[in-house]
Symmetry: C2
Subunit: 520 residues, 2 copies
């Protein structure tokens, strides 16, 4: 089989699976992604390893669970000896490039201990990626880093200020010329002050197209990592006005959930953004804009795909479209993400393999349980790269080629609640603050270290409205799910400094050195 030469790995931020036309949304318009899906395999049960950006992304990039890579929150430094997809692809001559968001942070403390100067390891600081236009998004406080590339770009186009990301791209103009910030959710329907062509999604797409065109015939892996439709929710015209209240889906929630909430949910429901989504007015204001931002991404993905086709790269490029996690949008009385309900952990995943071997699966829907960590093995499989003992995912190429299925009985996701208000309100010790989800086809079990568990019967309660975590009738199911958690944990790849081959060949190597043990 001919290996592919390039990889286009498109990620959205906070795009839940059910907000694409091809995933069944009744009103959203995503013609380019729907068309891509018609030529791809669309995975209907794809899950992230954590419902928060940073830990989820580190799992996407390393092919390892959060328990293994250890970077369990946003900007938690990645251990210096973790390997990312970039580290695997670089030695193959495939340049790993980043446009947009990664949340990768290097462990400069350890580098310093080892006497490694930061200026000698530029690429290492980006997780091995070549920085084309890295931008981690959400730059509210310009003091944090006002000099980001996108701000420089905006200023070069005449959008001045200390932080035009905030004051132009994520603000609207009021009737009297005042600036209406997207941080106030009530402003979500207003058009951003900048023209669409200069918005974040357009800017990143421009950089991506430039990169692909400039690379010519040299092999590349471009991680185009949009920072939308993540909040702040504000879209440039015409996308701010593309959808209205009639286009939105009803919230998935029940009064019982609010009356007897899980302790974690109780804290999160009371936060400002969640409280907003309790009101119909907020949902009717925000969700149309969320949908507009998605349609905008769809349009720009269309531009990229057209570029690939125009220069013939559509024939030798693996294209992946996915997201780092979902968005509750008021479901379960919650905003944002950070719990394990389906709208938080289930992601869109569309994988296009142009080779003839994939012809028989084109346009198909796969309902195997698959995980974010499956992408690195898939990338390596597509370009005929080496496997690695470090990887905890498995290649999806057999699914794409109709020669196998994922075979997973369960998927797993993790989150440390110690960082946020949940940790403080519930007095969770930083060492006992992690929640872990195991989801099979029929059940979802969420284990918390010092709090009650959650259990949902996905066959009879697909909306996860009835928590069976304390129901004595389901003790056997909970035990079964704990068994999955245990086997999962015990199979994690903590032995990173030696390969599987090192293990299996050890005895022979010892014998060859004459080091056998004593005998009578």
């Amino acid at each position: 089989m001919t290996p592919l030469r390039n990889i286009l790995f498109i990620m959205c931020d906070q795009l839940r699976a059910d907000y694409l036309g091809c995933y069944g949304h009744a009103t959203i318009r995503t013609p380019n992604l729907d068309d891509l899906a018609s030529r791809s395999v669309r995975f209907d049960r794809a899950y992230v390893q954590s419902p928060v950006c940073g830990p989820s992304r580190m799992s996407f990039y390393t092919g390892r669970y959060v328990s293994s890579h250890g970077a369990n929150w946003n900007r938690t430094p990645l251990r210096v000896d973790e390997r990312t997809m970039a580290d695997f692809l670089t030695p193959m001559g495939i340049e790993p490039a980043i446009v947009g968001k990664t949340h990768i942070k290097a462990d400069t403390e350890t580098l310093g201990r080892l006497g490694v100067h930061e200026d000698t390891v530029d690429q290492r600081l980006e997780g091995g990626f070549v920085d084309i236009a890295r931008d981690d998004g959400v730059h509210r406080n310009a003091a944090v880093d006002g000099d980001i590339a996108y701000n420089r770009y905006l200023r070069s186009k005449g959008f001045d200020g200390e932080n035009p990301w905030e004051t132009w791209a994520n603000s609207a103009s009021g009737p009297d010329g005042e600036i209406l910030s997207a941080w106030s959710l009530r402003n979500a329907r207003q058009p951003a002050r900048i023209p669409e062509a200069y918005s974040e999604t357009a800017y990143m797409t421009d950089r991506a197209i430039e990169y692909i065109e400039a690379k010519g015939d040299d092999p590349w892996c471009l991680h185009l990592s949009y920072i939308k439709p993540h909040w702040p929710y504000m879209a440039p015209a015409p996308y701010n006005d593309m959808y209205g209240p009639d286009d939105i889906k009803p919230a998935i929630r029940s009064d019982a959930e609010k009356d007897d909430p899980h302790p974690i949910a109780q804290v999160m429901m009371a936060e400002g953004d969640s409280m907003a989504f309790h009101q119909d007015e907020a949902r009717e204001t925000i969700i149309p804009t969320y949908m507009g931002l998605i349609s905008q991404i769809d349009a720009h993905v269309g531009r990229i795909l057209a570029t690939l086709k125009a220069i013939g790269r559509d024939q030798d490029t693996l294209v992946v479209f996915t997201s780092d996690h979902g968005d509750f949008l008021g479901d379960h009385w919650l905003a944002d993400k950070a719990m394990f309900y389906e709208p938080g952990v289930r992601i869109p995943l569309i994988v296009y393999d142009p080779r003839p071997e994939a012809d028989k699966t084109r346009g198909s829907v796969c309902d195997d349980l698959v995980e974010a960590i499956d992408l690195v093995p898939t990338f390596l499989g597509a370009v005929d790269g080496p496997s690695s003992h470090r990887l905890e995912g498995q290649s999806l190429i057999p699914v794409l080629h109709g020669t196998g299925n994922s075979g997973r009985e369960a998927v797993f996701s993790e989150l440390d609640y110690g960082y946020i208000a949940t940790g403080r309100e519930l007095a969770l010790p930083a060492t006992q603050s992690v929640g872990r989800m195991v989801r099979t086809k029929d059940w979802k079990y969420v284990h918390f270290q010092t709090l009650p568990c959650q259990l949902f019967d996905l066959r009879n309660d697909p909306d996860e409205l009835r928590n069976l975590g304390a129901d004595p009738d389901y003790a056997d199911i909970r035990a079964e799910m704990q068994g999955h958690l245990l086997e999962w944990q015990l199979a994690l790849r903590s032995r990173v400094t030696e390969t599987d081959e090192d293990v299996s060949s050890w005895l022979d190597r010892m014998l060859a050195r004459g080091a056998e043990k004593s005998a009578w």
Copy 2:
């Protein structure tokens, strides 16, 4: 409380707990260690994190379980960002020195990727220890490293040859002047060719005493890590002849164990060294020498303790005496170690704290469940060092001072059977070859990834002769023990690049930067 200034951390290799006088052995003579115990706390239920040298030692040195540090076999490189006791003590101005065995191997592959040249990180290659006379022992094949310091020492004393470690220190002379190798167990009662004063234990003790005397009033932590009584079993006179067949304890084993063995045990029972120990003649030949090697160590520990006293260091030095794992010596029809029966995983642990606060516990026996990983926190507690979020053990200082107990419900130990004959004979995949033990006061459960489990009722079967792993009457106990394993795994400290304080303070830090989320 006055912090201590020095730490003397004495480790034996392969010394099982019940082969010291103070641990109840009826015939062995260990007067110096018994005397030390009379001034210390003697821990009666101390367990290693792995019953093999390398992984066990990495747990001793890092204060972390094998699942966390990942160095799961002998000479498996330690991840470059793992911190050892040496790394914690060095910044305090306490020099961490090594005499003897560590099995530490640096991850030179990762160092190379980071552009770190080995000659700039000498101490790093030793796990942070200052190399006084490192010697990992068992140098059968001189080609591996004939130029070890002990060989140079032996040659300087006139004991020539390519590998005098083997041909002088671990060989005897036959009646016709021929060399009788200690690799043949039948030679175990013969005296080593070298005089006792040049044997490994004496040599290492000399180096330790020189070091302690030379340090004067400068604070130090000396890890004196004897490589005996580990095989090859051969002692210099008079220790070869100090004990005889009448002095040895009967083997702990039953015919039923041999008739219906666990698959792992079945493979190990059939190995040459185990087969030897099936014969009374072999036990009567080897065990007296094993005991002699222990009495030799006792004598040399006596020299060190006398040195401490002579120079006043007995007043400001924490003294720990322990071992990296045990030795089956024919128990359960096994030689060596590498299974989780008590003679393999239970170790002697004697901790002497000279401060008045420890007066009320002197000479006491503690039957709390404690682990090898408790030593790094104990060291840091003794010298008033900082705690670390990486550490998975807990300080024993409260036990020493009579102000608390270990509070552990269970101890854990792990071993990867993929490296050895068990892996090959049982066709264990390298990714599914690990056994894990959980031991409470009453039960021991051993979980294997693809093999049947073991369960022992330690109250009614303290010799672990009846495996209840498949007995349906004990399903609830097995479930309870699996619950312990799960909670243990889920609490491992995989977040190494951020501290507990980083977690708990995150929200405040974000709020201080004005990065709160949206609201209506």
